[in-house]
């Protein structure tokens, strides 16, 4: 009995301590998150963390406890004094708790968050989102804004870049580059569209068009935080590590100015 009490107290104290430390830092579990989708993932991550912490501490403590409390003074092969093969309560609690926890994790965060995620998507779809056509090719991301007539958004040096207005829903259409519908293996492989700061990625599969919704909710760009970038996450050949593009989340007036600038660039390119 003594062991159980000591173990229980140490476990409770350590768990409380760990939870306290975690609570102070949990806004930064994902380092930097600036979209509604990212917040969803972050809250799920933090919820799971605070529930898994006691389990983790339990197992770690058991290993340490065995090394300290249950350690034999010498290596003589003497049988242990306690020879239990069964403990109904221990088994009952273990099995019951593992079922209960797993079912809970499946209902919340998994089921609840998936439901929230796709409800968000439906609502964002209804709010006339900004449409960005994203085309992946080896090894480049290309961004096209059909509502503004911008075929390929680039900066002054001609490098692809993406700019999004803050707090406005965005719908990304993800396609693989195949302008002549040749379905050549040399034209299309799997890429994965990932913006680390937005907390989501989706594979881009040759021959498929997929869409993705989210709302960026902070002004930021690649220079303020390097997580604000488009990064290919699925290996796509030797150019894979170079397949990234800067992203800027800006205010609505800044976005309007950027669109005007893009139009000017496009006209200049067309006129030249």
């Amino acid at each position: 009995m003594g062991n159980i009490v000591v173990f229980g107290v140490v476990w409770a104290v350590l768990t409380a301590l760990a939870e306290w430390v975690f609570r102070a830092n949990r806004a930064h579990s994902f380092y930097y998150t600036i979209s509604n989708q990212g917040s969803l993932a972050l809250s799920a991550f933090n919820f799971l963390s605070s529930w898994l912490m006691p389990i983790f501490i339990f197992i770690v403590l058991i290993t340490v406890f065995s090394l300290v409390r249950f350690r034999a003074p010498d290596n003589e092969p003497k049988p242990s004094l306690v020879q239990a093969m069964r403990n109904r309560w221990y088994i009952f609690i273990w099995v019951g708790a593992s079922f209960a926890l797993n079912i809970m994790f499946w209902l919340h965060p998994t089921a609840v968050d998936l439901e929230a995620m796709f409800t968000n998507w439906r609502q964002e779809k209804a709010q006339h989102p900004l449409i960005v056509n994203v085309t992946a090719r080896q090894w480049e991301w290309m961004f096209n804004y059909p509502q503004y007539g911008i075929t390929q958004a680039v900066n002054a040096e001609g490098l692809d870049e993406m700019e999004l207005p803050v707090n406005r829903p965005v719908e990304f259409f993800l396609r693989s580059y195949d302008p002549f519908h040749t379905y050549d293996v040399y034209a299309g492989v799997i890429h994965s569209f990932w913006i680390p700061a937005f907390g989501i990625k989706e594979d881009v599969i040759p021959g498929e068009t997929r869409s993705l919704f989210l709302i960026p909710n902070h002004v930021a760009n690649f220079h303020t935080n390097p997580l604000v970038r488009v990064q290919c996450a699925e290996v796509c050949g030797p150019g894979h590590p170079y397949m990234e593009s800067p992203v800027s989340v800006v205010t609505a007036p800044q976005f309007a100015r950027w669109i005007a600038y893009q139009k000017k660039l496009q006209a200049a390119a067309g006129g030249a």
Binding site: N3, F30, Y31, Q37, A44, L48, L52, I55, F56, I59, I62, T63, L67, F70, R71, A72, N75, P77, K78, S80, V82, Q83, M85, R86, Y90, I91, W94, V95, S98, F99, N102, F105, W106, T110, A111, D113, L114, Y183, V185, G188, V189, W194, G199, I200, K201, E202, D203, P206, G207, P226, L227, Q231, C232, A233, V235, C236, P238, H240, P241, Y242
Partner: protein
């Protein structure tokens, strides 16, 4: 009746011959001949003249010829082909060290061959990992010249470790050596097949290691299509190498499963079967189902590459390849780790001299993990799925942690209030429990789709699966090597060195892979030799720990090799264990037991002094 029987067995009529050439050399020569003959034959029937002498199709055919030549050369000709046609086998198994360098029918020799080959593969794969970590110390290319070289290194590292180490050491290696001993068998059912199967492993590993000669392939160990179809010829050797290694595993599993079912000693009922044997039986069944699956998938991918067909590119369905790969891929990780779970509960009761707690639950856990493992594959491709599809896979992925937990439950129940002897195997098993807990709990995050969509394909995932495989399996492998070293060699290791080395590896391991979780969350994606500079400090520190870890593995290997050859003599049963392998001498004689084994009670009771089995020495054979 008995007269007819002896006639039916051609091997009873030995007309032995002396080998004038070492089997390995003969194997190399015959393999070369096989390659040249089939390669030229393919070129000869090539309808389009003017191709070079070695093309992708001809190298596949040539490779098949080389493997057949190699297998025949190392002894398959005498041991398989001659008996198949009814001639007596002329193969002589040497009694000295040479027995390890040719086809053997003794499961202990085969086990050591597997352990040696696999450890060599582990060394090569580890050195490749060191090169990768060295490259990642800087955010730009500074060690490899091309990104393709780095990606090839990643692919070879992953494939070697998965198919040449993870699937092999505990099953074909320790399983081959100890399962027959633990069930009181004198030999295995398909001894010759198993002996031949070992030689597929070095063939496959060498194929993979040679793959860069044919061009850098960049898909990693998963060979995702359509990228693989785009890759140069190296990818062909990836398919072929993995094919040979998985075939080796299939043969070993078939032999072990049949042996467990038919060669148990008298009184070795299912209720008394040791845990490790249960572990090997469950994973053998998994191997028999899933390894042929991946082989056929690779055959189709190879056809996509060579002909080319269009099963898996944009004209077919890339997602089909992904599903077919992970249908095998997820059971694969349980194939790797289930024997380790079983070994925890094999070693802990011995070291604690305490009854194994809830043995039935531990076995149920193994069986249910085996059954559920085929239902979770799609959590590897959440980034390709619809809402409705994510629900069930997320459900099964989370549920599989329940039977996994049963192994922990039994281990912890046994540890509780034990008189635990703190030996090196104990320490390593406890470390393995610790590491696998981290690997398992981070798996709960990954099973949740919204989190998965952020951390998928990042270093978070790399850290997660290295925690389960190195942390779970490799640590247990080391524990088992120390635990069974006295049995395999008759010698003992140095406890002080053993513990310090274990601590060394533990610190190196957790330093390396613990920080990788942070890297992944901070936006470091996989398969990149070049990354944004803000990730450099953390990568630099990971690399330093990785070198420390690598050195720790080498030091451990040196310690084990030293103990194996020069260590102090060990007593017959140094751990006071009760399972059958300790009933015989160390190392065991050729036919394992000098007499008949009879099991009278289970092996996991330490509350009495009655022996669990008797060895009845028979003065004259039963005949």
């Amino acid at each position: 009746m008995e007269q007819q029987m002896t006639q039916a067995e051609a091997r009873n009529n030995p007309q032995t011959k002396v080998m004038h050439i070492a089997p390995l050399f003969r194997g190399v020569i015959w393999a070369t001949i096989g390659f040249v003959v089939l390669d030229l034959l393919t070129v000869a029937v090539d309808p389009f003249r003017g191709h070079p002498l070695v093309t992708e199709p001809s190298e596949v055919m040539g490779w098949a010829g080389a493997v057949v030549g190699w297998l025949m050369g190392v002894g398959g000709y005498e041991e398989m082909i001659l008996p198949l046609f009814g001639s007596p086998s002329t193969w002589v198994e040497p009694k000295d060290w040479r027995k390890y360098f040719g086809l053997s029918t003794n499961h202990k020799v085969i086990g050591i061959q597997y352990l040696f080959t696999s450890s060599s593969i582990f060394f090569v794969g580890g050195m490749i990992a060191m090169a990768m970590r060295y490259e990642l110390m800087q955010p730009s290319m500074h060690f490899f010249t091309y990104a393709g070289q780095y990606l090839t290194a990643v692919g070879i590292h992953g494939s070697l470790m998965m198919f040449g180490v993870g699937t092999v050491v505990l099953i074909s290696g320790l399983g081959n050596y100890f399962v027959p001993l633990m069930i009181g068998a004198k030999e295995t059912v398909f001894s010759r097949l198993s002996g031949l199967g070992h030689w597929l492993l070095p063939a496959g590993a060498l194929t993979l290691i040679a793959s860069p000669l044919l061009g850098y392939w960049d898909t990693g160990w998963r060979g995702y299509e359509p990228l693989a179809s785009q890759d140069p010829g190296g990818i062909v050797f990836y398919y072929l190498g993995v094919f040979a290694m998985t075939l080796s595993t299939i043969l070993a599993s078939l032999n072990l499963a049949a042996t467990i079912i038919f060669h148990r000693a008298k009184g070795m009922t299912w209720a008394r079967l040791p845990l490790f044997v249960w572990g090997i039986l469950t994973v053998s069944l998994l191997n028999l189902i899933w390894q042929p699956e991946i082989e056929m998938t690779f055959v189709m991918a190879l056809l996509d590459k060579l002909i080319p067909f269009h099963f898996f590119d944009a004209m077919g369905s890339p997602l089909t390849y992904l599903s077919m790969f992970w249908l095998f891929g997820h059971p694969e990780v349980y194939i790797i780790v289930l024997p380790a779970f079983a070994l925890w509960n094999e070693i802990i009761p011995v070291m604690a001299q305490k009854n194994l707690f809830a043995r039935d639950w531990a076995i149920i856990g193994l069986i249910f993990v085996m059954m559920l493992s085929g239902l979770v594959w799609a959590h590897h491709i959440f980034t390709n799925m619809r809402n409705s599809e994510m629900f069930p896979f997320s459900f099964f992925s989370e549920m599989i942690s329940i039977p996994t937990g049963f192994s922990f439950m039994a281990a912890i129940g046994t540890l509780w209030r034990a008189r635990l002897r703190l030996t090196t195997p104990t320490l390593l098993v406890l470390m393995s429990l610790f590491n696998f807990t981290i690997g398992g709990l981070t798996g709960v995050y990954l099973a949740d789709p919204p989190i998965n969509l952020q951390v998928h394909d990042t270093f978070f995932v790399i850290a997660h699966f290295h925690y389960t495989i190195i942390g779970g399996m490799v640590f247990t492998w080391m524990a088992a090597m120390y635990y069974w070293l006295p049995k395999m060699s008759g010698r003992m290791f140095n406890e002080t060195w053993g513990k310090w080395l274990a601590l060394w590896v533990f610190i190196g391991f957790n330093g390396t892979f613990g920080q990788m979780f942070l890297l992944g969350l901070d936006g470091m994606n996989r398969w990149v030799p070049v990354y944004p500079p803000y990730l450099k400090p953390l990568n630099y520190s990971v690399s330093l720990f990785a070198f420390f870890l690598g050195a720790g593995f080498i030091a451990t290997a040196i310690h084990i090799l030293w103990a194996w050859t020069k260590g102090p003599k060990s007593p017959e049963n140094p751990w006071h264990a009760r399972t059958l392998e300790w009933l015989t001498t160390s190392p065991p004689p050729d036919d394992n037991f000098d007499g008949e084994v009879e099991v009278v009670r289970g092996f996991y009771r330490y509350d009495h002094d009655e022996p669990s089995a008797y060895l009845v020495k028979s003065p004259d054979p039963v005949e």
